[in-house]
């Protein structure tokens, strides 16, 4: 991840950025829409469980040749 002098290699940043932007491109979804989805999900989940915005993580991820929506929603016990 880190090359000489501890500098983060620019190609690693590029790879991360490309993976993220392509996951949205492929799903024909804008990052803004994703925030809307997250907010709505939170509303729905909140009806059943105590929910807190900061702990929720919703993202798209490439798994093999398919795209999956990953929602990481910790339930407060």
């Amino acid at each position: 991840m880190f090359g000489l002098f501890g500098r983060k290699r620019s190609k690693d940043q590029l790879k991360e950025r490309l993976k993220l932007v392509l996951s949205y491109d492929r799903a024909k979804l804008s990052p803004g829409k994703m925030e809307d989805l997250k907010a709505e999900l939170l509303d729905v989940i909140g009806k059943y469980f105590p929910a807190e915005d900061s702990e929720y993580d919703v993202k798209l991820e490439q798994q093999g040749d398919r795209m999956v929506l990953i929602a990481n929603l910790p339930v407060k016990g």
């Binding site: 620019s10 190609k11 590029l14 790879k15 490309l18």
Partner: protein, 268 residues
């Protein structure tokens, strides 16, 4: 590749589509295939000058589509290589004669009536009708990509469009690799690009001034066996023909990578 009609495309402009078409086409012909390369970039034709055949264009693709000449008259024979041929794009702006149906019919005639073994279709940049027409007759594709952000993003879009056209033989050519930058970690490695785009590789072409020099004089580098810059294009042609040609080593952090590229550079 099984595909006899192969579109060369990239989405983004300026990544080396036309140079690739000229060099791979010339190499295929040298290897014994009867080849025609077709420029479909109507209004911005360039394949003729890259191949050094600009002085020989009498009729072009649009002339044929609009009935001003026969198909045979639009096919220009390259005198340097026996089996190499070109159909030029029109330099006028009228694209209305380009239709997917005419394109498919033309490719069929070239393969079935005119006896060509392979047709390479040089697509215009973009994802609009020019690209769609170029892709419509193809059963295979060479996607040219540079290892940088906008080219990779556009290639991903193009690959999606090719797949939706059910073009199943999609192969990637990574053009303008700079081993020194890869070694520093400032350029995507071959494996990074393959992981991101998820298609099969068919060529890794290092950046080399001699490619531009050969283009300046209108003589594709792959035509001259002594020109080491043409080696990878000759290897791509061999892979298209189904040969298993090894790639230069791809490990960025080891000397093997550089050695692999040095081999490509002719041991320099």
């Amino acid at each position: 590749m099984n595909a006899k009609a192969i579109v060369v495309t990239s989405g983004k402009g300026g990544v080396g589509k036309t140079t690739t078409t000229a060099n791979v086409g010339a190499a295929l012909a040298k290897q014994g295939e009867k080849v025609v390369v077709i420029d479909t970039d109507v209004g911005l034709r360039n394949l003729d000058v890259v191949m050094g055949l600009e002085g020989r264009v009498i009729y072009d693709l649009i002339d044929y589509f609009e009935g001003r000449c026969k198909l045979k008259q639009a096919v220009i024979r390259d005198k340097r290589v026996d089996k190499l041929h070109l159909i030029a794009a029109s330099q006028t702006k009228d694209k209305s004669a380009l239709s997917e149906e005419r394109m498919r019919e033309t490719i069929r005639l070239l393969l079935e009536e005119e006896g060509f073994d392979r047709v390479l279709i040089d697509s215009p940049a973009g994802i609009e009708s020019g690209f769609q027409t170029a892709a419509s007759a193809a059963t295979g594709a060479l996607v040219v990509v540079n290892p940088e952000v906008s080219s990779v993003r556009d290639a991903d879009r193009i690959i999606g469009l090719l797949e939706s056209r059910e073009i199943d033989e999609v192969r990637l050519i990574i053009n303008r690799m700079r081993p020194e930058m890869v070694r520093r970690g400032d350029m995507l490695e071959v494996d990074d690009v393959l992981e991101i785009l998820g298609v099969k590789l068919i060529g890794i072409v290092p950046e080399d001034e001699r490619i531009l020099v050969s283009t300046n004089v209108g003589s594709p580098a792959s035509l001259d066996d002594a020109n080491k810059a043409g080696t990878e294009f000759r290897n791509i042609a061999r892979r298209v023909r189904g040969e298993d040609v090894p790639y230069p080593s791809m490990e960025a952090e080891t000397s093997g990578f550089l050695l692999g590229f040095r081999r490509l550079f002719g041991g320099r």
